[in-house]
């Protein structure tokens, strides 16, 4: 197991800080803060690997406050410890970038398990919220599919030659390389590119490359193959 360099604990309650420290002191260097200003300073100064944050820390400002702390030290993994939170609040915290939520009065031994699980890349989330997570993943897949379709539709407005050049741009080739490959002058390549940019309403080759790569079907989109005999689920 990877040993964290530093775990920062933040709560205005000394009793709570003591409880948390008992859970993690055996495998981490522990630092404590009891106010928001001090917490910000410590985050900037020490860049801890992990922050155990009391959601009731005075002046924290809920999810927005947590988001601001993440911006201060993006490399710090945050676990929120709190009293009962609504599903909505907890979900918002996770979408902000928090990697775990658990009760403020958690047993030290249990807290150690949570910290170690999060260190391994696990998400410490209530099972009841996992439905939202999967729904979100599904919605993203749909959205990506729509983007891919839209990019594909746009590219269909190009002539064969323009499409060919757009594909080569997508592969990262320079105008010179394209000219050599297609046996045309660089000036002709530039002329085609101007027309491609106009048709697709993009400003530069990077945007064009993104559009071309975005239109490629590479993540197993729902297309039935001819035989239909080798499915992911059989």
């Amino acid at each position: 197991m990877q040993r964290p360099h530093l775990i920062l604990l933040a709560s205005s309650s000394q009793e709570v800080l003591e409880l948390w420290a008992r859970g993690v002191h055996s495998f981490a260097q522990v630092s404590r803060t009891s106010g928001l200003a001090e917490l910000r300073n410590e985050l900037l100064r020490t860049k801890p690997q992990m922050l155990l944050l009391d959601h009731q820390l005075p002046e924290l400002g809920g999810t927005r406050g947590v988001s601001a702390l993440i911006k201060l030290s993006p490399e710090t993994t945050i676990i929120i410890l709190s009293g009962p939170l609504s599903d909505e609040t907890e979900w918002e915290l996770f979408k902000t970038g928090v990697r775990g939520c658990c009760p403020r009065d958690i047993e030290p031994q249990q807290l150690a398990s949570v910290v170690q699980a999060v260190q391994k890349g696990e998400l410490w989330i209530r099972r009841t919220l996992t439905r939202r997570l999967l729904n979100e993943l599904w919605a993203i897949a749909l959205e990506k599919n729509n983007i891919k379709q839209a990019a594909s539709d746009l590219l269909s407005n190009l002539t064969r030659r323009e499409h060919e050049i757009a594909k080569l741009i997508g592969n990262g080739e320079s105008n010179k390389q394209i000219a050599q490959r297609l046996d045309i002058t660089e000036r002709t390549v530039k002329a085609h590119l101007t027309e491609i940019f106009r048709k697709l309403d993009v400003r530069d080759r990077l945007k064009l490359a993104l559009l071309v790569t975005g239109s490629k079907s590479s993540d197993g989109q729902p297309r039935t193959d001819a035989s239909g005999r080798t499915p992911i689920v059989s």
């Binding site: 996770f94 970038g97 699980a117 391994k120 099972r127 992911i232 059989s234």
Partner: protein
């Protein structure tokens, strides 16, 4: 409490029958096989041989529609378009049926992720103890996902990455 109806999607009939037997009688679940329907009427082993005029995807969707299980356990073999198409079709054609992947340790995480993105609601190891299936079925029936916490972490990463990319694209007027 009503038992949760479970069926298995597997074109390897020997393996499927063996698996059906191993889960039969498990507390809290009721196995649906080719000889049963949700209302208990015998159908006497319909369609024991695959029909040449329909694809495997269509066959699984048709069987699922006929058996109408709450949970469909489906083998994760390989990541293909047809497999994804099946998950999408099942979600569209059989919205009340929740698909759970059967994937052992050898299954690639990306494949599982892709299948979850296409509508699967969980993932269990086919070699697990039968009581494990019963528990997973109950959780999934309640609407929860049955996915290892590490996988949940990866899904969250994907969600965050997409949100950030979207936010950046919104800020960039050229996008």
């Amino acid at each position: 409490m009503q038992p949760i109806t479970v069926a298995i999607a597997d074109t390897d009939w020997g393996r499927r029958t063996e698996f059906e037997h191993s889960l039969q009688g498990e507390q809290g679940i009721r196995m649906l096989t080719n000889s049963t329907t949700t209302d208990g009427n015998a159908l006497n082993e319909r369609r024991l041989t695959p029909r040449g005029n329909i694809s495997a995807v269509e066959e699984v969707v048709a069987r699922t529609r006929r058996l109408n299980p709450r949970i469909l356990l489906a083998y994760l073999n390989q990541c293909t378009d047809a497999g994804c198409a099946m998950l999408v079709s099942l979600r569209r054609e059989c919205p009340e049926t929740l698909v759970v992947l059967l994937a052992d340790e050898s299954a690639h995480e990306d494949q599982v992720m892709l299948a979850l993105a296409k509508g699967a609601r969980g993932c269990v190891n086919p070699k697990a103890d039968p009581t494990h299936f019963s528990r997973a079925a109950q959780m999934i029936d309640r609407g929860e996902a049955w996915v290892p916490r590490k996988m949940l972490g990866k899904i969250m990463d994907e969600v965050m990455q997409f949100c950030h990319a979207n936010a950046e694209a919104t800020l960039d007027p050229a996008c």
